[in-house]
């Protein structure tokens, strides 16, 4: 237990901050994922074949390729890509991207592919009559989307989005390979310096279980809130 003490003698405070880092990366990745889903879900639902193809290749490639490989692509390729873009604007100095941004982006793109599928499914399972009714009421395009479609989509999507959240949360452990100090990386460091990997990795497992448990409770509450009236 003294291994977990706060302060200089134990790893308690380090692991605590690492847990906060995991939460921060997961939330950032989830938000990036939602942004991607907001772009690609309409493309998936559009009648244009080309737009369909673009959105389908995004979700198929990302969901068919291991997360770790995507992270390596961003980790090794991210700096190069940013420097290339910067050089177009005439900036030629070396740019180093923060491990947090690279990691959150890589996980965000993965999480976005899953979210896109969830939102597509949710929109498609809304009754056709709802769209027609909104048209009959003479609602504007925005009114139709924000007042009729979006609330129903959210209600249908939340249970599946909670799965996406769990996947995203667990995927952040893979960012440890880029050196970002989250739960997994901190446990690796602690295990290395105390020569007690069994304890620290088991403790990491407990921390992840705690995170999934607490977030499930919170999401359940959200689910209840959004299914009022059903």
């Amino acid at each position: 237990m003294e291994l977990l003490a706060f302060g200089d003698t134990g790893w308690g405070d380090e692991l605590f901050y690492a847990t906060l880092m995991t939460i921060a990366v997961s939330i950032t990745a989830m938000i990036i994922g939602f942004t991607f889903a907001a772009i690609f879900t309409p493309l998936k639902l559009s009648k244009n074949k080309l737009l369909n193809f673009i959105a389908n290749s995004y979700t198929t490639v990302i969901r068919g390729v291991p997360e770790l490989l995507v992270i390596y692509l961003f980790f090794f390729g991210g700096t190069g890509a940013v420097m290339y873009v910067a050089s177009i604007f005439g900036y030629n100095e070396y740019i180093e991207i923060n491990a947090f941004i690279t990691g959150a982006f890589a996980i965000g793109i993965i999480s976005g592919a899953y979210s896109t599928e969830v939102f597509r499914g949710a929109v498609q399972s809304i009754d056709k009559g709802q769209f027609e009714a909104a048209n009959v009421l003479g609602l504007s395009k925005f009114g139709k989307f924000f007042k009729i479609i979006l609330p129903q989509t959210l209600r249908l999507a939340i249970p599946n989005l909670s799965n996406v959240w769990q996947i995203t949360l667990k995927d952040t452990s893979l960012i440890s390979v880029t050196g970002l100090v989250e739960i997994m990386r901190q446990s690796y460091i602690a295990a290395g310096s105390t020569r007690d990997p069994l304890f620290f990795y088991s403790f990491a497992a407990v921390l992840y279980l705690l995170l999934t448990f607490v977030s499930m409770k919170l999401i359940n509450r959200l689910e209840v809130k959004y299914s009022r009236g059903y």
């Binding site: 198929t60 490639v61 068919g64 390729v65 291991p66 997360e67 770790l68 490989l69 390596y72 692509l73 090794f76 390729g77 190069g80 769990q166 667990k170 995927d171 452990s173 893979l174 440890s176 390979v177 997994m184 446990s187 690796y188 295990a191 020569r195 007690d196 990997p197 069994l198 990795y201 088991s202 990491a204 497992a205 992840y208 279980l209 999934t212 448990f213």
Partner: protein, 224 residues
């Protein structure tokens, strides 16, 4: 684009893909037995057995696969007692550690898939078997298991694909699977995009094949 690098790295990555497939198939076979075992425990009416099986699947589904591999590979080696037993022959090999972790992980997911498949079997089918005078054991093996397998095919297909992606984590414990070799080539040539395209296409091809095999099986064993 460095086409030459892509062509040169293709055979290396392809032979690494064989290791990925080996890891996948061995852990899926072991995982299927673990999953079936725990699914049967979940259907047991004894609350302790039931809770135990639920706890197993909860822990393995709630923690990242990476943690599980690290606990087995780095953690178990720390126990002095284990080092003196026969188990150490297996546990000191990263290959077997990865397979144990994958099998336990996929076993947890498989047990959930099979449990829900068993629970969706209509009681009328079992009653029909009983009224024909078939023994409970035979009802289980000849009626419940085949129906459950058919029911769980779509979900299990997803699990196979997820597991195939999961095997990429073997590269973190020094196994040179497809991702491991891809990372090695990337870090020596600093051409991440080219290598990603080749390695990614191999993964996508495997996903494609698995997806279609499952689809074929679904059609073949459909009820209509």
């Amino acid at each position: 684009m460095d086409l030459e690098l892509m062509i040169n790295s293709f055979p290396k990555l392809l032979s690494a893909a064989v290791i990925t497939l080996k890891l996948l198939s061995v852990s899926l076979i072991i995982g299927l037995f673990i999953g079936l075992f725990f699914a049967i425990l979940r259907l047991n009416k004894n609350i302790f057995i039931n809770r135990f099986a639920y706890g197993y699947s909860y822990v393995f589904r709630g923690t990242p696969l990476l943690v599980q591999i690290f606990i087995i590979y780095f953690g178990l080696g720390q126990i002095e007692y284990l080092r003196s037993t026969v188990l150490w022959v297996i546990l000191r090999e990263p290959y077997w550690c990865a397979i144990i972790a994958f099998a336990l992980n996929t076993g947890a997911y498989t047990s959930e898939i099979l449990r829900s498949a068993f629970q969706t079997i209509k009681p009328g089918i079992i009653e029909a078997g009983q009224s024909l005078g078939i023994s409970n054991k035979i009802i289980f093996y000849k009626i419940q298991i085949p129906i459950a397998i058919r029911q769980s095919l779509p979900a299990y297909g997803n699990e196979i694909i997820l597991m195939m992606k999961g095997t990429s984590l073997a590269s973190t414990v020094t196994i040179m699977d497809l991702t491991g070799v891809a990372k090695y080539i990337i870090s020596t040539t600093f051409k991440p995009i080219e290598v990603f395209i080749v390695a990614g296409s191999i993964y996508l091809f495997m996903t494609f094949v698995i997806h279609n095999v499952i689809k074929f099986l679904e059609k073949k064993y459909s009820f209509n």
